[in-house]
Structure formats: structure tokens, C-alpha cells
């Protein structure tokens, strides 16, 4: 005990009075949580709030080396342009696609993989998870080769084998979106399966047993028991997927390096990068960032409100 207390006191001398106060602090259910969350608060203030305020200020400025000046709402007015719309549209559609694919599919796969009668379950779990271990940047190199434009690229060979036409994958909006969604799905499928598996393990077996006694079939059990009880995990996966979707950048970067033709691969973060760094317009970049922030905040607050994540218990 004594040893343990040392870490939380500035003065390690066992002065009785101080020790008493310390005891109070250490035992106080009122104060302890604040100490627990203090690392976050500090990190929030220093690495988030301060830079955020700087960013907000910059969004009203023209930021040039040695010549920064306030320009009112001009940066925000500039947002009304086709590139911003394209970025917003791409990002939104991409996010929706990842939600459509990366929630139901892993859920079903998790249910299958959770069944003891399927052979090689551990193999499949690992195989699906391995893509998540890799860096998008590194894997992008091989994806670009696989989805090469030449007739002999693996993807085009497959297309031909299926009786379809070879594609110029990175040159059209539809196939470009497919590439980004495919890369994301490839990478994150295994992670989401694991989240759902973890949720499944928490469902008491007795529920199924009693359902079976009532004569429930596979599908009834799935819709009546599995789905409702997986709600908390689903909320978690949904939340991180929305965040992930809106801040997507690398999936586009590996195919086009910030220069996609006709903006087919432009995302909101990519647009910030383009304007803020490539065109040295940090003020405008900040304005895009602030708008992105507002969009994501609103979507998530609505989502959390509806799904009730603020309630104490799931």
C-alpha cells in the first residue's frame, strides 16, 4: 500500500497530516475520476483545443509567410465551388458504401465463424485479419499493380475470364470509387469481424437454448436474439466507420497521389491537403477543415442520440 501511494504524492515523506489528505484524495470517489481522466484533459487542451483554435483563426485569414491578414468570410465563400462539392460527394458516397459493406458482411461472417461446426475457423479469422496489419501506403503499391490498366493485369485477366471488358480502373469515377471501397473493405473486414465475434461471445447460450425449445429456426434466432443483442457492438462499429469514412485519405492517395482526374478520387481530407499544402493556402485549408469537423460532429451526434450511446448501460 505504502509503496503504491508514493506515486500519487508529490511529497514522499510520510507526514501524517498530508497523508490524511492524500488518503482522502485517493479514496474519494469524487476526485479519483478527475485524476483518471486528467491525461486526456491535458492532451485535449494542448494537442487539440489549442491547435483547433489556431485553425479556426486561420480559417478567417490569408496565411502567407510574414504577411498574415484577416479576410473575413472569404475562405468560406470560396468553398462554394465544384471541387468542394465533388469532395463532399465522394466522401459521403464512400462512407455510405463502407457502411453498407463493412457492417452486414462482417456481422454475418462473424456468426458463421462463431459456429463450432465450421472447420478451420481460426484459419479464416487470421486470414481475414492479416490485411488490417499492413500499411495502406505499402499495400497500395501492390494494389496499383493488380488493378493496372494493361490487359494483362490480374484484375483485367479476371474481368476477361468473367466475360467482361478490361477496365481502366483509375480513370473513371465508378471504378475509382470501387477501388477505394474495395481497398477499405479488404483492409477492415477482419477487424470488424473480430468486433462482432467479441459481441457474440457475450450472448448467453441459454437464450438460444430456450428459443430452440420454443421451436425457433436459424433465422428466427438470428433476427430475434443475435441482432438485437449485437446492438452495442454495432453502434461501436458504426461510429468508428463513420469517423473512418469521413477522414479517409490514404485509400485515395495510393491510387492518385492527390491528383485524380476530374476529381474522381478527391476526398475532403484530400482537398484540405491540396489547398493547404499543395497550393499553400492554409487559410482556405483550415476553412475546409472546420466545415468537415462540423459535418462529422453533427452526423455523429445524431447517430449517438438515436442509438442511445449516452445512456449509462447499453
Amino acid at each position: 500500500m505504502e509503496n503504491y501511494h508514493l506515486n500519487y504524492s508529490i511529497n514522499t515523506q510520510p507526514v501524517p497530516q498530508k497523508k490524511k489528505i492524500r488518503r482522502n484524495i485517493l479514496f474519494s470517489q469524487k476526485i479519483a475520476p478527475y485524476i483518471f481522466v486528467s491525461p486526456f484533459i491535458i492532451s485535449f487542451l494542448v494537442f487539440f483545443l489549442y491547435p483547433s483554435i489556431s485553425t479556426i483563426i486561420m480559417s478567417f485569414q490569408e496565411v502567407l509567410p510574414g504577411e498574415t491578414r484577416f479576410i473575413g468570410l472569404q475562405n468560406y465563400k470560396k468553398l462554394l465551388n465544384p471541387h468542394f462539392y465533388a469532395a463532399l460527394r465522394n466522401t459521403t458516397i464512400y462512407t455510405i458504401w463502407t457502411l453498407i459493406i463493412l457492417i452486414p458482411l462482417p456481422l454475418v461472417l462473424a456468426v458463421i465463424l462463431n459456429s463450432k461446426v465450421i472447420p478451420g475457423r481460426n484459419f479464416f479469422r487470421s486470414a481475414y485479419f492479416i490485411p488490417a496489419l499492413t500499411s495502406t501506403i505499402v499495400v497500395g503499391v501492390i494494389f496499383r499493380l493488380i488493378f493496372g490498366e494493361l490487359e494483362s493485369s490480374p484484375a483485367n485477366m479476371l474481368m476477361k475470364a468473367l466475360g467482361l471488358h478490361a477496365q481502366q480502373w483509375t480513370m473513371h469515377w465508378g471504378t475509382g470509387m470501387f477501388l477505394m471501397v474495395f481497398l477499405a473493405s479488404w483492409k477492415w473486414l477482419g477487424v470488424n469481424i473480430l468486433y462482432f465475434l467479441s459481441g457474440l461471445q457475450n450472448i448467453p447460450k441459454e437464450l438460444y437454448e430456450s428459443a430452440e425449445m420454443d421451436g425457433a429456426g436459424v433465422f428466427t434466432k438470428f433476427f430475434r436474439i443475435t441482432l438485437p443483442l449485437l446492438k452495442p457492438v454495432t453502434i461501436y462499429v458504426l461510429t468508428i466507420s463513420i469517423f473512418g469514412g469521413f477522414r479517409m485519405y490514404e485509400e485515395s492517395f495510393v491510387f492518385w497521389q492527390n491528383q485524380s482526374p476530374g476529381d474522381i478520387g478527391l476526398t475532403l481530407v484530400g482537398y484540405i491537403y491540396q489547398e493547404g499544402f499543395m497550393n499553400n493556402d492554409m487559410g482556405f485549408g483550415s476553412a475546409i477543415g472546420i466545415v468537415l469537423l462540423a459535418i462529422v460532429l453533427v452526423i455523429n451526434l445524431i447517430q449517438l442520440k438515436f442509438t442511445g450511446a449516452f445512456k449509462k448501460e447499453g
Binding site: G66, M171, P261, F277, M278
Partner: protein, 431 residues
């Protein structure tokens, strides 16, 4: 106890490993009295070239030796990092390579680069003038290029031969088109490839005619008549199947190298510095490619245009500006520096007074590939090399021309050349 142990372990681990926070902006003296100079570039070969020149410098100037620390970063990262460092006033290197399409970003506001007039002026008359202007602001020079980037046309003489076309008789673009028809009907291969994701097929063609995206006064001239007509010409070539959109969208993609190497098209318009891509990535074409001036648009029109480039600059965070300048002048402005630029990098150096130097005729991998008359071609167009007009908004303009003009007109076909150019011109005029 846990917290304590953890912090201790962690700090031990980190202090044991983290290297001295050697801020790259600092230039101290190393033990043997050499002055440290840091340099950033985005091309590995450039870094090798600078190191070679630093060794040469040290041989000649044992009294003021330098220790050059050259670091290669990925293209985007290097430029962004440099911007961040210059904006915040810390962490920039002494010397940096800045690519031409990004350079004007660094001239916005008060340039955080050092004025180079005192090293440029003495040799100014021996340098292709337009190569200096692209890195200048208000009469001050801030960057020194490696090369002229003279645009030429690379012909596959084997394919031309099959169609009975003599490349030396192609004088104008009209001739080129006629010859193209012959090549297509004789070989089934396109006469030329056109970039839809990059500027190298369009920009040189309009600069060649004295036009540009911006006028000399900095006004947007993107939708002027020459530009519209030139784009219509390219579209026509594509529509009539004389040209093919470059596989992969540009001349720097893996797909394109593969396509071209198999004899995919009879010609390509690119700057001189593209030679290295042939030698490195299209080995099967060795001995089959020849370099000629671009076709003219009018009887007395120019036959080239200076395209691309990398301006080497000294940042205002450099502590030994005088020495950095001397070294930079030695590496990129001196005769021997320019000769090495050809020998090591295969670029057409900015000092035209070395172009007829015997050293440039010595056999190397480029002369073996393209023949010995490379610099004869270059000498013949010496006075016909315009460079583009660069403004503060050039990075954005280039990006829009690629994304909203070339792609939409040449690839998608969703807009007419005139309409696409008008749209972007309108957007850029608002900037």
C-alpha cells in the same frame, strides 16, 4: 508502483535511443573543420549529383570544406515539409530542390528564400534566360534549375520506316498529322500518345506558340484562341485514331512504359529529361528511337518549349548563406557543374555555352540509346525555347487544367475544348 516503473522504463528506453535533436537548420562545424550544409531533394539521383559536386568542391577548396548532408524525401512530403518549416520559421534545410509547379508557392507573401542575384548575374548571358525568370519575383532570382527541359519529339524510326515516313520531312503539325495517317494504316499503331492526366502533351504545344495559361502580365489567358485551337487539334488526333490516350493517363506510369516498350506508338512529345525514362524503363527501344525538334505550327514558328524543372533554392534559415551560395553556383552555374548535369543526370543543362563542349559528345548511355546527335538537335533550336509563365496561382491552375480540362475533354469527352477551357478560366480569374 506501476505508473512509476512505467515512466522510468519508458524514459530510459527513449533517452537511450533518441538521437540528438539535430535540427537540420543548424550548420555547425564538424570535427575536421568542414562546414555542414543540409540539403533536401525529392530525387535520389539529384542527391547523388550534389554529393559528387560536394566532393569536387572539397578537392578544390580545402580551406572551406563542406560536409553536405543530402536527404531524399518523397515528392509531396518534401514540399509540404519545406512549406511547414518555412511558415513556422524553424527546421528548414540550408538548400532545397523545389519542383517548378510548386515553386510559386514558396514565392507567396514574403519569400522565405534567399535572393540569388549576386551569383546569377555574372553568368546570366550564358544561361537560357527563360529558365531564370520562372524562379523569380520582382526581378529577384530565387532558384537555379538543372535543365532547360527543351521539349522534343521522340520518334520510333522502326515504325515510321514501316510506313515509309521520313521523320526529317515532318516540318509542321499538319505534316505530322498526314504522316500519322500513313503510320496508322501501315502499322495499325497510333502515331503519338497524349497525356490525359498530366500536362506534358498540351502545355509545351501552346508555350511553343508563345501562348500560355497566363499572359506575361499575369492575367488568365487560358481560354484564348491558340489554346482552344491546340486542344481541338489534340482532340481531333484522338478522334481520328491518329493518337491514343496514354495508357495509365500519362507518360510516367508503369502502364505507359510497358506499352511504349513494346512499340506501342510511333512517337511521343516530351522534354529532353525524359531520355532517362527510355534508357531505364524501355530498354527494348534502344537504337530505335531518335530525337527531333517538335513540328512547327507556322512556317517560322518555334520548334521547342522549355518544360518542367527543379529550382534549387537557399532558405532564409541557412546560417552560412555565403558558402551555400558559392557551393550552389559551383554545382549548378559553373561550366563543370553543367557538364556533370548532363553526364550524371542526362539533362540538357541551362548553360548553352557547354552544349558544344566535346564532353557532351562522349559516349554514355544516352548517346548509345539515341545516337550521338542529341546536342546538335538542341543547338538547332537554341533560340526557340520559350518557358512557361509562372504565377502565384500556377499550382492550382495546372491542377485544374489536368483535372477539369484535359480529363474531361480528351478522356471523358464530356465537354468541348472551348467550354472546358472557359470554365476553368472563369474559376481561375476569381482567384
Amino acid at each position: 508502483m506501476l505508473l512509476f516503473t512505467l515512466t522510468m522504463t519508458v524514459s530510459l528506453l527513449l533517452s537511450g535511443c533518441s538521437s540528438e535533436a539535430s535540427d537540420s537548420g543548424q550548420s555547425g562545424k564538424s570535427s575536421d573543420g568542414a562546414t555542414k550544409l543540409t540539403l533536401w531533394t525529392f530525387v535520389e539521383q539529384h542527391a547523388k549529383f550534389y554529393k559528387y559536386m560536394a566532393d569536387e568542391w572539397n578537392k578544390k577548396h580545402p580551406d572551406k570544406k563542406i560536409e553536405l548532408q543530402a536527404t531524399t524525401y518523397p515528392y509531396d512530403d518534401m514540399h509540404n515539409k519545406l512549406l511547414l518549416s518555412l511558415q513556422s520559421g524553424v527546421g528548414a534545410p540550408d538548400i532545397a530542390d523545389i519542383e517548378i509547379s510548386r515553386f510559386s508557392n514558396f514565392l507567396k507573401g514574403k519569400p522565405q528564400l534567399v535572393e540569388l542575384n549576386d551569383i546569377v548575374e555574372p553568368v546570366k548571358d550564358k544561361i537560357v534566360q527563360s529558365r531564370l525568370n520562372i524562379y523569380s519575383k520582382d526581378g529577384k532570382y530565387y532558384g537555379i534549375d538543372f535543365h532547360v527541359g527543351a521539349t522534343v519529339i521522340y520518334y520510333n524510326k522502326e515504325l515510321l520506316g514501316k510506313a515509309g515516313v521520313d521523320p526529317n520531312k515532318i516540318i509542321t503539325w499538319e505534316d505530322f498529322k498526314e504522316a500519322g495517317k500513313k503510320v496508322v494504316s501501315a502499322t495499325g499503331k497510333p502515331m503519338i500518345t497524349i497525356e490525359t492526366n498530366d500536362l506534358w502533351s498540351y502545355w509545351p504545344l501552346i508555350v511553343q506558340q508563345g501562348s500560355d495559361f497566363y499572359g506575361k502580365d499575369g492575367n488568365v489567358t487560358l481560354d484564348n484562341e491558340i489554346n482552344v485551337k491546340t486542344l481541338e487539334f489534340l482532340k481531333q488526333l484522338l478522334d481520328e485514331k491518329i493518337a491514343k490516350a496514354a495508357p495509365g493517363g500519362g507518360h510516367h506510369t508503369e502502364e505507359y512504359y510497358g506499352f511504349m516498350n513494346k512499340g506501342g506508338a510511333a512517337s511521343v512529345v516530351m522534354p529532353m529529361w525524359y531520355m532517362g525514362r527510355f534508357t531505364d524503363y524501355m530498354p527494348d527501344l534502344k537504337g530505335k528511337m531518335i530525337i527531333r525538334p517538335m513540328p512547327r505550327w507556322t512556317a517560322d514558328g518555334n520548334r521547342s518549349a522549355g518544360m518542367g524543372g527543379t529550382g534549387t533554392a537557399i532558405t532564409n534559415q541557412c546560417k552560412n548563406v555565403k558558402l551555400a551560395k558559392e557551393f550552389l553556383a559551383f554545382a549548378k552555374l559553373s561550366r563543370e557543374g553543367n557538364i556533370q548535369i548532363w553526364k550524371q543526370l542526362g539533362f540538357d543543362p541551362i548553360r548553352w555555352d557547354v552544349w558544344d563542349d566535346p564532353a557532351l559528345k562522349e559516349p554514355n548511355k544516352y548517346t548509345e540509346y539515341f545516337g550521338k546527335d542529341i546536342f546538335n538537335t538542341l543547338m538547332s533550336v537554341k533560340n526557340e525555347i520559350n518557358s512557361p509563365t509562372i504565377t502565384e496561382n500556377t499550382p492550382k491552375m495546372n491542377q485544374l487544367v489536368v483535372q477539369s480540362v484535359l480529363y474531361k475533354v480528351l478522356k471523358e469527352g464530356s465537354l468541348s475544348p472551348k467550354q472546358a477551357l472557359k470554365n476553368v478560366a472563369k474559376e481561375m480569374k476569381k482567384q
